[in-house]
């Protein structure tokens, strides 16, 4: 008698299922671990940034009240701006690769709030220190439109290039507009912003990427009174 068929074929299916569940389960656990660890990294970095922001806010208050030199404050603001810009890039990188958990979105929101506070602080400080320049990049985080996403990618690259060119003098602050932050909403209303925009010193805004050259020119020269159809003056 030929007995080549397994007596209990079910056992093979079950064994394969156990192996699969083990590999799959290990993968999910590893994934959750990896994503938690990334979220923790962001959260820890956030704490440092929050402390630094408080320090900068106090420094700004001191400069405003005591009439001290702006040079140090500007340098600290630029340094802090660079640091939180790096954090922004890190969050964006982690957001892309996180598949299982959404905790990192909360960190994103917290960072947007922090950056809004930093922006407000910069606005206040500029009253006393006119040499402090800010480039605020405002974008839609939740957009599903491919066109909007790619347009924002180009905006982001453009802003990044400007930051690379003038990183020692301009603070780049990227902020997502659609995170339901009331303080940010007030600022957006004040500056009449409702679409992807690059805002230079709260005076010049660019929301059409084709105006890039002219906008770059304005940033370069730091001029405040150029009337141009492509550039919307406040």
């Amino acid at each position: 008698m030929v007995k080549r068929i397994l007596k209990n074929p079910k056992s093979s299916f079950l064994e394969a299922l156990i192996i699969t569940v083990f590999i799959f389960g290990t993968g999910l656990l590893l994934g959750i671990f990896l994503e938690n660890s990334r979220t923790n990294t962001i959260a820890n970095t956030y704490i440092d940034s929050e402390i630094n922001l408080l320090d900068i806010q106090m420094l700004s208050d001191l400069i405003l009240s005591e009439n001290l030199s702006c040079e140090y404050a500007i340098s600290e603001n630029v340094d802090f701006g660079n640091r939180i810009y790096e954090d922004t890039l890190l969050i964006a990188k982690y957001e892309k690769s996180n598949q299982l958990k959404t905790d990192i979105l909360k960190e994103h929101k917290r960072y947007d709030l922090l950056r809004t506070l930093f922006w407000i602080n910069s606005i206040n400080l500029r009253e006393r220190c006119s040499d402090l320049h800010t480039l605020v990049y405002l974008y839609d985080f939740k957009t599903e439109s491919s066109e909007d996403k790619q347009q924002q990618t180009v905006f982001s690259k453009f802003a990044s290039e400007l930051h690379n060119d003038f990183g020692n003098t301009i603070v780049l602050i990227p902020i997502a507009m659609d995170m339901d932050l009331s303080s940010l909403d007030v600022l957006l209303e004040k500056y009449n912003i409702n679409e992807t925009t690059l805002l230079f010193d709260e005076t010049f805004k660019m929301n059409d990427i084709s105006d890039g050259d002219a906008f770059e020119d304005i940033v370069k020269r730091g001029l405040l009174d150029i009337g141009d159809e492509g550039i919307i003056l406040n």
Binding site: M1, V2, K3, R4, I5, L6, P9, S12, F13, E15, A16, L17, I19, T20, I23, F24, G27, L28, L30, G31, L34, E35, K93, Y94, K96, S97, N98, Q99, L100, S146, E147, K149, Q150, Q151, T153, V154, K157, F158, E161, I209, S210, G212, D213
Partner: protein, 408 residues
């Protein structure tokens, strides 16, 4: 988690499961992979060769069958299915040297009907079907007859390999056929061999009579017959110690037509037997769900793949458009070298590792017998190019099937 990620996880789980199952089965049969049962009874065998316009190959096929080392071959029946070339003339000449050669000359009615007519007049206890392009190894019968001591045995097949591949396409099919043979053997221990292919299969005559023979309406009569056997609980087995060779299509057009026919035949057979789904035996519990799921996931996968490609192209279009407007580089070196692993990468690697182990084990088992002379470059091309044509065939076959454009 977005919908596409969930779908990816489902696909990955199924892929991991199928690979794990293959590994488990391979591990279980690793020592008996080349098992051959002893011949305790010399069953009489009728060899049936259907032929339609086969003047180029019929002589070689008949001669190879005539040289089989099995003693109790009752007859070699060649069915001349209304050939308009010299097939009949060649057969008549061959008959002078081969006394047990019988020629069944008839009007053209298709392969399945030709086989059915030959089965009716066959005198052997076992029926060996051999395609007219097949060259059988001497021991092809003596290695397979022994399985029929088991009264539930319905069919036994052997590896079908490609001989003398003329060009790259044929060489790629040679690799494919080895892969098919290796994986088919894995299905044996779970009673799930789903095709005993046309080039060579040995059947018990009484079983063929019980299931009513081949279905003339089906365009892949070998698949249909095997499913009929499986649905009635007859066993199908495979002997890896012997084999036969056949010719692979060397023109893309012929190959394309053949693959479309196979796929359409698969769909046709699936629909015929769908009522057995999740019933009775391994046919209902594994073969049918396996095929059904394969069709479903294949189709869904194709739609998702097409959607992703279009979405990416659409997205790329806007990126290029706005990058050109803004005079910004489209690709940055930073993005090219940015490595950021995710859980999806883990599953990809896990699958790769499992498949790697599977391949290592199977190569160790069969390297001397089946993989001799296979070109590594061809193998790479097989994986990276040839296999990618399957989805396209699947789409065209589905389309043809829906239009009822089914012919040989």
């Amino acid at each position: 988690m977005d919908t596409l990620t969930i779908i990816y996880f489902v696909y990955m789980f199924i892929a991991l499961y199928i690979t794990s199952l293959s590994l488990v089965l391979l591990f279980k049969i690793r020592k008996t992979y080349f098992f051959t049962p002893k011949i305790t009874k010399e069953y009489s065998v009728s060899v049936i060769i259907p032929a339609w316009n086969e003047e180029n190959c019929i002589q070689r096929t008949v001669n190879s069958v005539n040289k089989l080392d099995y003693k109790n071959i009752k007859e070699i029946i060649v069915v001349n299915d209304g050939s308009t070339d010299n097939t009949l003339k060649i057969l008549t000449a061959l008959k002078k040297d081969i006394p047990n050669l019988r020629i069944l000359n008839k009007k053209n009615s298709g392969k399945a009907d030709s086989l059915n007519q030959a089965i009716k007049i066959a005198k052997g206890e076992l029926i060996c079907i051999v395609d007219s392009e097949t060259v059988v190894r001497k021991n092809a019968l003596s290695k397979t007859v022994g399985y029929f001591d088991d009264q539930k045995m319905g069919a036994v097949t052997v590896p079908i390999l490609i001989r003398n591949p003329k060009n790259l396409l044929a060489r790629l099919q040679r690799i494919e056929y080895v892969g098919i043979a290796l994986t088919r053997k894995l299905l044996e221990p779970i009673d799930s061999i789903y095709v005993t292919p046309g080039p060579f299969a040995l059947y018990r005559k009484s079983v063929l009579e019980d299931i009513g023979g081949f279905d003339p309406e089906n365009i892949t009569e070998d698949i249909e017959l095997t499913w009929s056997l499986a649905s009635k609980g007859y066993k199908r087995m495979m002997n890896m110690e012997t084999g036969v060779t056949t010719i692979a299509p060397s023109s893309f057009k012929v190959w394309w037509k053949q693959r479309n026919r196979w796929t359409m035949g698969g769909i046709q057979t699936f629909l015929k037997y769908k009522k057995h789904f999740a019933k009775e035996n391994m046919f209902g519990y594994f073969i049918l769900p396996f095929f059904g799921l394969g069709f479903l996931l294949g189709l869904l996968g194709l739609f998702i793949f097409a959607y992703q490609i279009l979405r990416n192209l659409w997205s790329r279009y806007f990126l290029v458009k706005y990058s050109l407007i803004a005079n910004i580089p489209i690709i940055s070196t930073e993005s090219l070298f940015q490595i950021n692993p995710s859980v999806l990468n883990y599953f990809g690697i896990a699958l790769f590792v499992l498949m790697f182990f599977f391949n290592i084990i199977i190569i160790r088992i069969v390297q001397k017998k089946l993989l001799k002379g296979k070109n590594f470059k061809d193998f790479l091309l097989f994986i990276t190019g040839y296999l990618l044509l399957s989805p396209i065939i699947f789409i065209t076959a589905m389309f043809k099937f829906l239009r009822k454009d089914m012919k040989w």
